[in-house]
Amino acid sequence: MKKINLYKTYLNMEKEEVILSFKGDITKDLLSSIYQIIENRLEHDAEDQKRKKKFYHVLVECLQNMYHHMESLKEIPNEGGKQAASAIFTICRSNDGGYKILTGNFILTENVEGLKERIEYINNLDPVSLKAYYLEKLNSNELSDKGGAGLGIIDIARKSGNRIEYDFEEVNTPYSFFTLAAKIN
């Protein structure tokens, strides 16, 4: 029998300076609780107000981006049947005193190329063009099926001031796993 021991997980999370990590079903209530936990924590952190605000803002966009992905993908196939699609996220401090937010969720592989192109396009814009692109999307009548006109990803890049890191891994036809990482300096 395998011994139960979380020490390695603990050490790993300690090393990565994990503030909060969760894997499972992403519901509105869960997100409310997460915001509350983070708000309480930030209140007790005597540090840069600006950075805190940016972090909170980017966190909300990252988690809601994941939530909307999940909404459009209720279940994924599993060996011998289907399972509710769950997702994962981790919020860490980074060694330079900033924050890192990682989210991971399933998407349809057929949507990978489009999403990749969008992120790459955004990553290659300088701050001035990024703002112009944001305003253009905000002012357009075009809405995505999630109702956000795809503003979330642009805003994550804008507010974090960093390139969006990402990865796609094809896991189980027709699904891929999408990892997104945003860093706030």
């Binding site: 509105k28 997100l31 409310s32 915001y35 509350q36 107000q49 600006k50 605000k53 940016k54 909170y56 803002h57 909300v60 966009e61 809601q64 939530y67 909307h68 703002k131 944001y134 305003l135 905000l138 002012n139 809405l143 109702g147 956000g148 006109a149 503003l151 979330g152 642009i154 805003d155 507010k159």
Partner: protein
């Protein structure tokens, strides 16, 4: 028509729209996952207000945070106010409040003022 009062929650803002005084206020946080259902009644109220607005309309925006899905809905509210201003029935001013040093929130107000014509935006800093 009646005043519109909505109490704030940890994801949605406090709303107080008064048609007799023309004082409209939105304050707190606006980070719901689906903003459209929250903002729909606000749009409806403003459309009704547009028919017979007060001589002076003041929209006081005191938001601590708002997400991108709210940003689209806020623009829709500004668009209705723009129509009210342009019909000459009411003189509309937006008071955009932001915490001292919150450059992102200040910039968000300026962004809206660029997209909206004919409405005066006043910026007020709240001491942090």
């Amino acid at each position: 028509m009646d005043k519109l009062i909505i109490e704030g929650t940890n994801k949605t803002p406090y709303i107080s729209f008064d048609n007799t005084t023309g004082n409209l206020e939105i304050s707190g946080k606006s980070i719901p996952e689906n903003s459209f259902s929250f903002y729909q009644p606000l749009n409806q109220w403003l459309e009704e207000y547009r028919v017979a607005p007060a001589q002076v309309t003041t929209f006081n925006v005191i938001l601590e945070y708002f997400n991108t899905s709210s940003s689209k809905c806020l623009l829709d509210l500004f668009r209705i106010l723009e129509k009210i201003q342009n019909t000459g029935k009411s003189s509309v001013t937006v008071i955009w409040n932001f915490e001292e040093g919150d450059d992102d929130m200040e910039e968000a107000g300026q962004d809206y003022s660029q997209l909206i014509n004919g409405i005066t935006f006043k910026y007020v800093t709240i001491p942090s």
